[in-house]
Symmetry: none
Amino acid sequence: MSDRKIEILDTTLRDGAQMEGISFSVNDKFQVFDSLSALGIKYVEAGNPGSNPKDREFFARYKNEQRQPAGSVLAAFGSTRRKGMKPQDDPGLADLMSADTSTIVVFGKCWNLQVREVLRVSLKENLSMIEDTISWLVSNGREVIFDAEHFFEAWRENRDYALDCMRAAARGGAVCICLCDTNGSTMPEEVSRVTGEVLSELEGVKIGIHCHNDTGMAVANSIAAVLAGADHVQGTLNGIGERCGNANLATIIANLELKYGISCLPEGKLEHLTPAVRNMAEIANIVIPNGEPYVGISAFTHKAGMHVDGVKKNPSTFEHVPPESVGNSRRFLMSEIAGRAAVLDVIHRIRPDMAKDAPEVARVLHKMKELEHQGYHFEGAEASQELLVCKELGMYKPFFNLEKIRIASEQPQTGEYSAYAFIKILVDGIDETTAAEGEGPVNAMDRALKKAMKVFYPQLTSVRLTDYKVRVLNADDTASSVRTLIESTDGHRVWRTVGVSTDILEASWQALVDSLEYKLMRSKLGWED
Amino acid sequence: MSDRKIEILDTTLRDGAQMEGISFSVNDKFQVFDSLSALGIKYVEAGNPGSNPKDREFFARYKNEQRQPAGSVLAAFGSTRRKGMKPQDDPGLADLMSADTSTIVVFGKCWNLQVREVLRVSLKENLSMIEDTISWLVSNGREVIFDAEHFFEAWRENRDYALDCMRAAARGGAVCICLCDTNGSTMPEEVSRVTGEVLSELEGVKIGIHCHNDTGMAVANSIAAVLAGADHVQGTLNGIGERCGNANLATIIANLELKYGISCLPEGKLEHLTPAVRNMAEIANIVIPNGEPYVGISAFTHKAGMHVDGVKKNPSTFEHVPPESVGNSRRFLMSEIAGRAAVLDVIHRIRPDMAKDAPEVARVLHKMKELEHQGYHFEGAEASQELLVCKELGMYKPFFNLEKIRIASEQPQTGEYSAYAFIKILVDGIDETTAAEGEGPVNAMDRALKKAMKVFYPQLTSVRLTDYKVRVLNADDTASSVRTLIESTDGHRVWRTVGVSTDILEASWQALVDSLEYKLMRSKLGWED
């Protein structure tokens, strides 16, 4: 282990949001920030308060919430001042200041072609724009990181001018100058060489690296820069970003820590890497490729018989690092042993005495495979899974019988959509009929069911839904199957349930019923805390 | 452009088939072979005729078909002979010979730990196994490539023995010795250094490289080896393979040809790269990540306003190579951060004469930002976007008026969920009332609306839905907003529409209405082809 420490800046909320299909709500942005904070990422760059209303709202709410300083440092992002304007008169810089963050990332141009053709200012004016933007922000109490856009193109075409821009940023007081491979055009040996040359020209300045993955080299380039002396790495935890994405920080962090002994996260955080990446993917609603290095579900999965055999004898035969070191786990495919072991794990939570080879184990396994084939997914729905085990072990009796539920939605000539549900249930021979209105049919059904159940089970009063997700399976029609996942809480505990059907209401109904019955089952079995 | 030519070996049918979820039929294998042949890949490695009946059938059929020698060279794959056996008596080698290919890839061990613990033979016996397996195959008219398994681990632990193995393969008559980073554990600078050292020790032998992507370095490592002198690269065209995949040949080939001027394919083939990769993905039934370097659908897609602007002025500002050079194409996206240029692009599809600074452009931009803030997402929904532009430009008149729609779902005591919708619409003062049953309420609504509309617009008969997606926004309750995306086709053209609401039925309704009105709008504006 070396003593080197690298500073990580995550730009999921800014550069990452440039990816096709990505759109973060203000709540999503808070979740991303919290997730990165929990992992110990030093800086979180979160957009430009001037560019759109969502970013403005995010910064305003962040400021009001007065977050603990223990988490990541929030940074706003903006450009150098406009030409011919003083920093104090520039509305863009005023927006940036209004974000009220301690750190600001300023990007500027250093490629002579861009300065002339895009900015349309003289090379000299651009130098002043860089220097006095930074020095004004610094004099107003901000820490400034300078992102040198198109740095490698600039270096190829006019090395001296690119260096002049760096020096202007350093004179302005930037704490770090970040070399941006904006187009993702540069190869590792060039990144390495140029980083080394910049460092030897600009002594005492911290150099950063910001790569894009257009040639599949973003990780290699970032590491090449670090090995050449860069101490600050920008990217996105999941590698999302415009075009082919930004440098994937998860891969970079794991490589630097495990292959080079260079630390990027606080001690003990690396083993939270996989859950953090998966959580970020949920928030962004993207799918992590199975084969994603270190954190993908297949990253430590063995299929070939010979490999399974080898790994069982000695994991180092086909695993380059232990999966637990990054919070992932080993899987063997096509292996009854693996399936059985996992199911047994759940069964033992409910019946610790169950023998490994009991027929019930095979029965539960069989049922679970059948349901997964239909589209159920128990990995994110432990409560439904435990209920299923209770059912298969004969430990379950329904807590109510549904007599009838009817849900209606309508849109009259000029009005809004409205939805209501009426329901009749039976508990121990006593019936309860009630109805509820809702924002949409699922919400109406949810409210009506809870209203009826609470009459018999007052302990359900504390239960509320905290998350509701819908995924269309094999979508080729409005008649496709959907899977709904529901997360519930009673204030102490959180649990998740699942339903699958071609009818979204039926799928939601299954997950809702499981949610309430799970709570009741826990009381009945005496598991309540 | 240098004069160097690199030999490519694709192992999609062997190492690629080890990936979770991949299974090729015999017909699939022929399609893969033909696709790689058409691209000009030199070698296609296709498994072991002894390992399973599908491989056996493939080789037998290939032999019978007497393919033109113009395509790729088919290679069979197998291991060195068993211990204590003569090559001519070894059933595995007999299987290999039975494939009747001109080229055979033989893999063998060179890591002392593996030789002792897995093979359980002396280091010396392993050397004979390598040498006499190869020399026997060569004496039987075969060209042999030797894959040195776990080469980099072997080198780290016992450099001399690893070299002895290479020398045994060379004495046996192997035309190429391939250094395999079997565990994907090695970093580029080590690959570079070791490849150089091997080359200086074994003069006159062609060296190959075979990498896995466990650290996200498979592409960088393959190129590092080539720059150090390797002339043969193994991988899979799409990067599929066990765990994190094999080296992605598409990225390697594009990088070597475009960044280093080192040729890998026959002249003129590089511009077929993207269609070839997409065709392979179809055969393997895998999804290519949007951001896949060079060949992904987002690889040359621009979203940020400033970037769209820059690329329109000069593509080199945000594109490292021309998209056509690899058979891909440029796209501009719309979004909350997109600027005027992208909006203008859409407007110009509808009103080619519109001036850049017309007030309508600002109005459309404003409206679009507002809707995106509510959760609409137009980049996957060009049809809704074009309709929106028509509405803002005053070119839209509703094709119908909704009088009433009522949707009902119910579950009686013992039955399945059932859903039906009844609808009343007005077109030019004439009303139509109808109803439909469906699998779930969305499907019922979809059917009822189409039924009513077809009475007035028979051209809608050919329209059908091909995809339906639901995403819950800010999910914290069943009352959360949802966004639905619908893809429709009339058999000629495909279009996509979007809807957002707290009510999934209303969101679906918006997308459904847009889908039908878009089709009608196209006819009305005379765009129909």
